[in-house]
């Protein structure tokens, strides 16, 4: 099978492939020769499983994510829908103000949906969001986990805040709009999450 590598990270490679005559994306976790077989197999299987579970669960709760086609724990491969959309990172800066506001609010609403069910994405950046059919799709749950604590939710949003500062620094209102959407959808006390974010910012290490 011809496969085209779209991206290669430290842990996995993302490639285009075919599955039931469809163009699909495969995330393949790379075997690491430096660690013993026992540890390597265990890590690859457990991380693949965890990521697939988070993707599936996000979908159940109405957050747009790629459709899962296959999970191969032995080889650490997740086969999923190819989203032929645009990365939010690449388009956000060129949008009209009103549109940018709308997109940011939608992002916030989706994150709130994840957090309502204790799903922590772990790496919410605009490179991990794809705009397709007017919907924001979240990808790469590789650093994600389930966690009910406010701290985890705060950290999750703080990652996005920092991404906005570095990649979309001209549009400083972005995070404000995200939080508006978040507040609307979040079932818990959104201001407590905001307070956590302030705490995290103030903890010197991040400054």
């Amino acid at each position: 099978m011809v496969k085209k590598i779209l991206y290669r990270g430290a842990e996995a490679e993302i490639c285009l492939s075919k599955y039931m005559r469809k163009t699909v994306v495969q995330k393949r976790r790379i075997k690491k020769a430096y660690r013993i077989r026992e540890i390597d197999g265990l890590l690859i299987a457990s991380r693949t499983k965890e990521e697939a579970k988070l993707i599936a669960e996000s979908r159940i709760h109405g957050v747009s994510v790629p459709i899962l086609y296959d999970v191969d724990l032995a080889h650490g491969i997740i086969t999923m829908e190819y989203l032929a959309g645009k990365r939010v990172k690449d388009i956000l800066n060129s949008l009209e103000e009103a549109e940018r506001k709308l997109i940011c609010q939608k992002i916030g609403e989706s994150i709130a949906c994840l957090h309502n069910h204790d799903i922590i994405h772990g790496d919410i950046t605009t490179s991990n969001m794809i705009l397709l059919d007017n919907r924001i799709h979240f990808i790469d749950f590789g650093l994600g986990c389930k966690n009910s604590e406010m701290e985890a939710k705060g950290v999750d949003l703080h990652v996005l805040m920092e991404a906005f500062e570095s990649t979309h620094s001209k549009y400083s209102d972005c995070f404000k709009y995200v939080f508006e959407g978040y507040k609307k959808q979040f079932h818990g006390d959104a201001s407590a999450v905001m307070k956590k974010i302030d705490d995290i910012v103030r903890r010197g290490r991040y400054r």
Binding site: A10, E11, A33, Y34, I36, I39
Partner: protein, 331 residues
């Protein structure tokens, strides 16, 4: 320029003398004396007393061994932090006394950055590495980015060396336990499940240490536990180092700190580097461990770049963070 450096952050007191030769570090002498507690871990006051006892003789011996005279020394530098307060104060006091007596400038340096700079200064080909710095107290992944040395990953609880030492003491080994654990691990072959604890780019060892200690009380063979402990902790270290390399897009990896002497760790990080077509460097053992030469070398780099320090500013900083250092000597 000839610079004398005094290291005293923890259990070792070291005096090193270096000379710069076209931007490379030539070590003229590098003497170390290590405090070894009878039992338990380092007692800060006793370690400081140990340093105070030996520092004066160590300075004289180091100067003699370097084949220079006191009057040849152009700069005195010392480890300003991070480290144990009493130890840092002892080294700093000795440095101040020497600088004032010789009427030479003084420079306090960051111990962690010194570990990285000595690699760049003494290992051929090592120019812009990601450093995996593994010692008793410190476990950090450091690289140069946007004008500063930044910590990309670090331990959230104890250092890897401390983790190995604590485990070693638990099974009745004497300090330093790392080499003895390494020997035992060679005879182990059965992997016992231990928790893998990575949070983003950071690592935690304490849960894993408890799990290993539980295996001891269950009567599992020590060889197998040591083997599993090494394999798991080193796999975690190698993984965060690789992530930092991918993130910073750097093609070099450097090992530093006392635990860098471990052959299995070298093998694993080396293999990771090879698989990414990156270059792998380990400095010689005498500059990997805490030593005065690395302090002298960083002192020289800072002084050469135009930085100056008055006696008033030479206050120690127990929590001297790596990313607090202003780096004027790198473009």
């Amino acid at each position: 320029m000839i610079c004398l450096g005094i290291e005293g952050t923890a259990h070792s007191i070291g005096v090193g003398i270096i000379k710069d030769v076209k931007g490379n570090c030539h070590i003229l002498s590098n003497l170390i004396k290590t405090y070894k507690p009878e039992k338990g871990g380092i007692h800060p006051r006793e370690a400081a007393n140990h340093h105070a006892t030996y520092i004066a003789d160590l300075i004289s011996e180091s100067v003699q061994k370097a084949g220079v005279h006191f009057t040849d020394i152009d700069l005195v530098s010392f480890s300003q932090g991070p480290g144990l307060g009493p130890c840092l104060r002892t080294a700093a006091t000795a440095a101040r006394a020497l600088a004032l007596t010789l009427e030479k400038p003084i420079m306090g340096v960051n111990h962690c950055v010194a570990h990285l700079e000595i690699g760049r200064g003494t290992v051929r080909g090592c120019t812009d590495p990601v450093l995996l710095y593994v010692s008793g107290a410190n476990t950090q992944v450091i690289a140069f980015a946007e004008g500063k040395y930044r910590v990309f990953g670090e331990t959230l609880d104890i250092g890897i060396g401390n983790c190995l030492d604590k485990f070693g003491r638990d099974i009745g080994l004497k300090f330093p336990c790392g080499p003895k654990i390494e020997e035992l691990a060679k005879k182990g072959a059965r992997y016992l499940l231990l928790p893998y604890s990575i949070k983003g780019m950071d690592i935690a060892f304490s849960g894993l240490l408890t799990a290993a200690e539980n295996y001891v009380s269950k009567g599992e063979p020590l060889e197998d536990i040591c083997y599993s402990l090494q394999e798991m902790t080193f796999a975690m270290l190698t993984e965060v180092t690789e992530r930092a390399m991918a993130h910073t897009e750097k093609q070099e990896v450097l090992l530093g700190g006392g635990v860098a002497s471990n052959k299995r760790l070298r093998e694993m990080v080396g293999r990771m580097a090879k698989d990414r077509s990156a270059r792998f460097f380990v400095p010689s053992r005498d500059v990997c461990v805490d030593n005065g030469a690395m302090i002298a070398w960083l002192g020289f780099l800072m002084y050469e770049s135009g930085m100056r320090m008055s006696i008033d500013e030479s206050v120690i900083n127990q929590r001297f963070r790596t990313d607090l250092v202003e780096v004027h000597w790198r473009g």
